[in-house]
């Protein structure tokens, strides 16, 4: 693969209407590759670690772009770029958690091209898998990372099932915290899936990171008003402050009643193959103040049950530390 860096041969389709794209996706089935911003796609294809017979380029479909206000919140087109998402006034005003998360994705250049749909649908970044090795996720029968000698610093501490890769999305945890739902279309119609259910772990589906199926296209993301204007916290810890994936991230939404946390959603990223709801933490903080006593009382609730690998044990204190920071921030 080292000598490959130009696009392989494939048929290119560039529909202008979503109906045409859905018809193509239905007709081409598994042989089609959906192209959004290309920030996941081009690496796979140019490295020739994955190939496809056809590509459906969605970028000509204008209806997939933009942010719209709805009766109960907002709807964001799947092709909306991460830059537009981060800068959108409505989102910044009401759902600052998502703005913060979008603004920390990769780099300005990648955010200019990358889309919300791509960010939540991207494949895992396990370097073994990306090299094209025949691991479980690639249809093989072993995992190179989950071994005593595996180079697994960035891998999962929760939810491993043959595969120990994490979901790399920065916006995913924010959408789960905001109780977003994903709008999925196919020639058979439309279905909506809660963000929490959109992301799937290897125990349920080892070859896909989302509930998206062949022939389906993620067209938009709806965010209800449930958590609009709540108190938010987002932090992404990465080796570098730009152009990097999270080592651990934390997306938190809290409804405050005076000094008291009335309700909260705590969601960690990069610790599992899907954004991880920290239900024990949510239950523990509900009804308490945002103070040292509450933060201390949380202890290791976030990391309880973690299973560490040879090089990722730091994620255990890191996730606990981020929960405490979320409680004490501001």
């Amino acid at each position: 693969m080292s000598s490959h860096d130009v696009m392989p041969d494939m048929d290119l389709f560039q529909p202008l209407q979503i109906e045409d794209a859905l018809a193509l996706a239905d007709r081409l089935g598994d042989s089609a590759w959906l192209l959004g911003g290309g920030q996941d796609t081009y690496g796979w294809l140019k490295d020739r670690a994955k190939t496809s017979e056809a590509m459906i380029d969605l970028n000509g479909i204008e209806s997939l772009r933009g942010v719209r206000e709805t009766a109960d919140g907002i709807e964001i087109g799947a092709l909306t770029t991460l830059t537009d998402l981060a800068n959108n006034a409505l989102i910044k005003e009401r759902y600052g958690l998502l703005s913060s998360a979008a603004s920390r994705v990769a780099s300005p250049q990648i955010r200019n091209a990358g889309t919300l749909g791509g960010n939540v649908s991207q494949d895992v970044r396990c370097w073994y898998y990306r090299r094209g090795l025949d691991c479980y996720r690639a249809g093989g029968n072993l995992c190179y990372a989950d071994t005593p000698e595996g180079m697994n610093r960035e891998h999962a501490i929760f939810g491993a099932s043959r595969c120990v890769a994490v979901n790399p999305s920065d916006t995913g945890p924010a959408l789960v915290a905001l109780e977003a739902s994903m709008v999925i279309k196919s020639v058979d119609g439309e279905r909506t899936v809660l963000a929490e259910d959109y992301f799937v772990g290897p125990a349920n589906d080892i070859e896909n990171t989302t509930a998206l199926r062949t022939g389906e296209i993620l067209t938009s993301v709806r965010i209800p008003s449930t958590w609009a204007n709540a108190t938010f916290f987002f932090e992404k810890v990465a080796d570098r402050n730009v152009w990097d994936f999270a080592l651990v991230s934390m997306a938190v939404a809290m409804k405050m009643d005076g000094d008291t946390i009335e309700d909260a959603r705590f969601v960690a990223g990069a610790v599992e193959c899907k954004p991880r709801r920290l239900a024990d933490v949510e239950n523990a903080v509900r009804g308490n103040s945002r103070d040292e006593a509450t933060a201390d009382s949380i202890g290791t609730l976030a990391s309880n049950g973690a299973r560490v690998l040879a090089h990722n044990q730091y994620k255990v204190p890191m996730i606990d530390n981020l929960v405490k920071r979320a409680i004490l921030a501001g």
Binding site: S2, D5, Y128, V237, H311, N312, Y314
Partner: protein, 810 residues
């Protein structure tokens, strides 16, 4: 000294092209009939090639031809072959090249080639190979037993590959931080080591490990080659248009006269493009074989493999201080990760200590071990900068045990102009480190910063100090100047152009000597058929010192000839003539004189040595050819640098850094950084600050970001690209990095300058590892890089084990 040009900013001629995008690199050139080559590389770290079947690929439409090791002279290991023949020894090693009418076809053709391998054992960590029973990177063994003295890091090793093994207990001693007993293949010693240790009040012993790092040149080493009328025209990515000639000509089996190297701009070399390198032999030979122009574009991933890397080190150091704080003795062991080529920087690592701490006695014991990782070679401050990284906190520990201020300790042990360095305690041209330290202490407000509280909220504050050193200059190269009858002055330079602009800064020496306008000068470079003199590489921080000398002697030769010609026409001796306003005239009557252009015309008429028909016999053959080609076209100034010599011109810097560590996340923020250089006269202020800042960024990367990771299960690398290697980004380094200089002229350079590029990385990485240890109550990781996970684990008291001394790992 008051200069007309030196020490003043100017706009080097290639800046505009780089800003506008007009600058051309090797990949930008096309030629009618050009074909595109692609490499088939090894997918495994160690194997025997049993068969290659390219017949299906060669039958494809658009495929033009193939080059394999069978088309090339054999290479003896551990020399890095142009193409692998029987054995491959690293993932990504080129096995063959295939050429086609488009890149697309060439890549598709690669998929049709069948190569069969017999897998061999492999190893990615030197200690895993050195231990009894460990695998060897080569069938013959794991170490080079030298039969000829070792050259610099770019010189091929001469010796025999043999297995060298240590008992497991000795490896374990090293891992525990104790002195191991085993076989070494290189080293040096001076002074009475035992006697000096006996005088010490404080002795510190530590084991350490430093990651190798890929060079990651922004411009991969793409080449485009064509042959015409028996000559090879080679568009290359290189650090010199001169130092590459002989090696590349030999690789192609031609005379240097028949080779034209074309290289106007180079997007980074960092030591990896200093001389001819193997992939040059692929495009050159394939183009001749096919009788077609060939472009071999190197992909980002290929550049990781064939672009070589800095050797990693596993080692042990014992250092002893007297009660007064003098470093009395240093005992050093270095086991180097030489990759499959075995290149090793241990002597430079030890030399770094000998320069900056001036121990009374010192010993180096060294063994480079072959591994099946990327080939290794010189990288910015080879040996010195990685030594600086681990040395700083260890020396801090020793100073702290003595209750001595860390900066005062360094000042006490600093080299001066009478100091000796390295094994032979050879002299330096001059050294003013104490003056640089004094300046830095004041500018950084060291005392105030060092005495501040070490906690700000949840942030741990660390204040560090570190030093960088590199031998920064050479002697004996040639200068070549031509004055046209039009008055235009050509300054010929074979120094490469990596973007440091030192090729241009040193050319201004000519304008200084001739007291002429810079607008009247043109730097002639970029193509060897423009007749370039024997020049050094633009590397090793040596351009400033080396080529201000060589340009000075050429300009002085031209100046003398100007005066001789004027004296012949207007009478008197050369001593009675002066220059000004680009004229040469009688000092006592300026009306009696001529312009430089008129003198050049007279030089043509006079012939002989005035216009290059004759030249000094001690010129290098490369320069002789250049002068011959220019003969009769103007006044020629050509000379070899025979100016007075005195040992090594040292480039030294002291760096000061303040950091904040987020104890929750392990993230490090650099809140203040200052580097003060001892590099003589600053020849080009913008170039100076660019090097100080660029090296500083890389030093921060070396301390806390850049990694080199191989899976011991399958020998695959995990950091093949810029993203995976974690080079620091703009947002990981301070927006403002301050730099200054002692600014005391070096007496052995006519302009007073010495080089400084390389130690600017070493002082930054050292200041940062020093600051990290300071922030963590003196905790020593003894490893670079120190990453967020290591800090979080340390704070959480996890069982993380840097003592394992593992290399090529997280």
């Amino acid at each position: 000294m008051t200069f007309m040009h030196i020490g003043k900013d100017f706009v080097p001629p290639d800046v505009e092209g780089k800003v506008t995008g007009d600058a051309k690199y090797a990949e930008d050139f096309r030629r009618e009939g050009m074909v595109f080559a692609r490499l088939l590389t090894s997918p495994m770290p160690s194997a025997r090639i049993t068969s290659i079947d390219a017949s299906a690929a060669l039958r494809m439409d658009g495929v033009i031809g193939i080059l394999t090791a069978d088309d090339l002279p054999p290479t003896m290991p551990p020399a890095n072959p142009i193409l692998a023949s029987e054995y491959v020894t690293y993932v990504g090693q080129p096995i063959l090249a295939i050429a086609a009418t488009s890149e697309h076809i060439a890549e598709n053709a690669l998929d049709q080639i069948k190569v069969e391998f017999e897998r061999r054992d492999f190893v990615v960590d030197p200690l895993d190979s050195l231990v009894e029973g460990g695998p060897d990177a080569y069938p013959e063994g794991n170490a080079m037993v030298l039969t000829a003295p070792e050259g610099d890091e770019n010189t091929a090793l001469v010796g025999v590959i043999k297995p060298v093994k240590w008992p497991a207990e000795e490896i374990e001693k090293l891992r525990r931080g104790e002195e191991p007993d085993g076989t070494f293949t290189a080293g040096w010693e001076y002074g009475d080591l035992d006697g000096e240790f006996a005088k010490c009040d404080v002795v510190v012993e530590e084991s350490f490990v430093t990651a190798g790092t890929p060079h990651q040149c922004m411009e991969p080493r793409t080449s485009m080659v064509y042959w015409e009328n028996g000559k090879c025209y080679f568009h290359a990515s290189t650090q010199s248009q001169s130092a590459v000639n002989n090696g590349l000509a030999a690789m192609l089996g031609i005379l240097p006269d028949d080779l034209v190297i074309i290289n106007e701009n180079t997007g980074g070399g960092f030591g990896s493009k200093g001389t001819s390198y193997p992939t040059m032999g692929i495009s050159g030979n394939l183009s001749r074989l096919l009788n077609r122009p060939v472009q071999l574009r190197i992909t980002r991933e290929e550049e990781f493999y064939i672009g070589i890397g800095r050797p990693g080190m596993q080692g042990w150091i014992k250092t002893g201080l007297t009660a007064e704080g003098k470093v009395a003795a240093v005992d050093l062991i270095i086991i180097s990760d030489g990759g499959p080529t075995g290149q090793n920087s241990a002597s430079s690592s030890a030399g770094h200590i000998s320069v900056l701490f001036q121990p009374s006695a010192m010993r180096l014991r060294n063994i480079p071990i072959f591994t099946n990782t990327t080939p290794r070679g010189a990288q910015r401050g080879p040996g010195q900068n990685e030594m600086a990284a681990v040395l700083a906190p260890i020396m801090d520990k020793a100073a702290n045990q003595l209750g001595m201020d860390r900066v005062a300790f360094r000042r006490l042990n600093a080299a001066n102009s009478d100091s000796g360095i390295y094994a032979d305690q050879s002299p330096v041209t001059s050294a003013f480190m104490a003056e640089a330290i004094d300046k830095g202490v004041e500018m950084f407000a060291w005392q105030a910063k060092a005495s501040q509280p070490r906690r700000r909220g949840n942030k741990l504050v660390g204040v560090g100090v570190g030093q960088g050193y590199h031998g920064a200059g050479g002697y004996g190269y040639d200068g070549l100047v031509r004055i046209h009858p039009s008055g235009k002055i050509d300054i010929h330079s074979g120094v490469g152009n990596l973007g440091t602009y030192s090729y241009a800064a040193t050319s201004r020496t000519v304008a200084e000597v001739l007291q002429c306008s810079w607008d009247s000068c043109e730097i002639v470079h970029a193509r060897t058929d423009k007749h370039l003199p024997h020049s050094s590489v633009q590397g090793g921080s040596n351009t400033i010192f080396t080529h201000s000398r060589s340009n000075y002697v050429a300009a002085m030769d031209a100046l003398n000839k100007l005066k001789e010609i004027a004296a012949a026409d207007f009478g008197g001796t050369v001593e009675e003539y002066s220059i000004g306003d680009e004229r040469v005239f009688r000092t006592d009557d300026s009306s009696k004189g001529m312009s430089y252009g008129e003198a050049a015309q007279r030089a043509i008429e006079l012939g002989g040595h005035y216009s290059g028909q004759e030249y000094p016999e001690d010129l290098n053959p490369i320069t002789q050819r250049a002068v011959t080609a220019l003969a009769g076209s103007g006044l020629i100034g050509a000379a070899k640098d025979n100016l007075e010599r005195k040992g090594t011109p040292p480039g030294e810097i002291i760096g000061f850094m303040e950091i904040e560590i987020d104890a929750d996340t392990g993230k490090i923020e650099v809140t203040d950084y200052l580097a003060v250089a001892d590099c003589g006269t600053i020849m080009h202020p913008q170039g100076f600050s660019q090097q100080m800042n660029g090296g500083g960024v890389w030093g921060i990367g070396m301390a806390a970001y850049e990694r080199h990771v191989y899976d011991p299960q399958n020998g695959l690398p995990a950091n093949v690209g810029l993203y995976q290697s974690k080079l620091p980004s703009m947002l990981d380094v301070p927006a403002n990095m301050a730099s200054a200089a002692a600014d005391i002229p070096d007496p052995f350079n006519p302009m007073g300058g010495r080089g400084i590029g390389e130690p600017s990385q070493g002082c930054a990485v050292a200041a940062m590892t020093s600051a990290i240890a300071d922030a963590l109550d003196g905790h020593l990781f003894n490893r670079i890089p120190v990453t967020a996970d290591m800090i979080v684990n340390h704070v959480a008291d996890n069982s993380y084990g840097p003592r394992s001394l593992k290399l090529n790992t997280f």
